[in-house]
Amino acid sequence: MERKILPADELNAYEDFSSRTLAKIPTAIERLICIASTRDYNSGVYHHDGLASRFSASATAKALQFAHIEAFHAVSAMPLRELSDEIRQYMNWSREEPAAFLNAWQKLEPYRVAIPMEVDPTIAELFVSNVKIALAILRLHLLRQTDRRSDALQLPSLGPRSLPPLRS
């Protein structure tokens, strides 16, 4: 989407939000989750008290909606290598146990909440599909790490021990 098509007050609200909030968030997936969290689950309307104090509630909602779609497109267009790396960073940042994090994300699929309402359904499916594959990749890395650790923890083999000679 082009920024030029936004009306002036919405564009100002969008630029304010981008520079004050989004610029401080290191990864695209975190930016997407952050913006999605400003949306009311029941009404689908975006709220941000700080922005609404400087701009109108309507301009704030439109700016957040625009930022949400933009962040969503950025994540959807990401190659799998980059996406799995971003999810790994987010997982580390969450300080959750990697196994617990992956279990929750693979079973509950909380990332579906990050999909904006006004996006192309094929791109929404592509996003879900890419996140599923990225999680499978992270699970694979985790399993390999665990295997390596357990191999390293095993005592070095001393070979078959010879039995003590039998006393006659």
Partner: protein
């Protein structure tokens, strides 16, 4: 006689594959807007920009980067998952584009009924484009189902160009129509 039986068997097999491929094209729960709402949005310029962006994102997923990256991991389950997911997404896209073509044609037929001065050549051109597009989508879904989405990029660009042309032409072909 044996050749006739073989031909019939091949045709039946192709029909079966087409039916299975179509079952993958059913709409998912992620279609919030729905095709009719998308098609009737008032801001055409915005829609055109979004369509181009969506196609770009969609086609990017069918490049070689992801395939190569997953191969370096050396895990057959992840490779199979990627192949399955890409095929599923490709078939869904074909299904949606087929529905879009049908909706354009239905809209045009509705407008044409009220038109006062229909151009026969324009109608024939539109009908031929529609048949060509449906045939291409059928072939494409068969090819994706059997061989995977490897050659999808070229065909997706071609079908999308025909669809855009049909959309433009379908709206302008009935000048005397009473547009609601």
């Amino acid at each position: 006689m044996i050749y006739l039986s073989l031909t019939a068997a091949v045709l039946l097999l192709l029909a079966l594959v087409a039916m299975i491929a179509r079952s993958f094209q059913t709409d998912s729960d992620l279609n919030f807007a729905g095709p009719s709402e998308e098609a009737s949005s008032p801001d055409d310029r915005n829609n055109a920009v979004n369509d181009a962006l969506n196609l770009e994102i969609f086609l990017k997923a069918f490049g070689d980067d992801d395939q190569r990256f997953v191969e370096t991991l050396g895990d057959s389950r992840v490779q199979k998952l990627l192949a399955y997911e890409r095929k599923r997404i490709a078939l869904r896209w074909i299904g949606r584009k087929t529905a879009e073509a049908r909706s354009i044609m239905q809209g045009h037929v509705r407008r044409a009924r009220d038109a006062k001065d229909l151009s026969v050549s324009a109608e024939i051109r539109l009908a031929l484009q529609y048949v060509e597009l449906l045939a291409l989508f059928e072939l494409l879904s068969l090819s994706v189902f059997i061989f995977g989405p490897a050659g999808l990029r070229k065909w997706a660009l071609l079908t999308n160009a025909i669809l855009s042309d049909m959309k433009r032409f379908g709206q302008s072909a009935v000048p005397g129509a009473v547009v609601p």
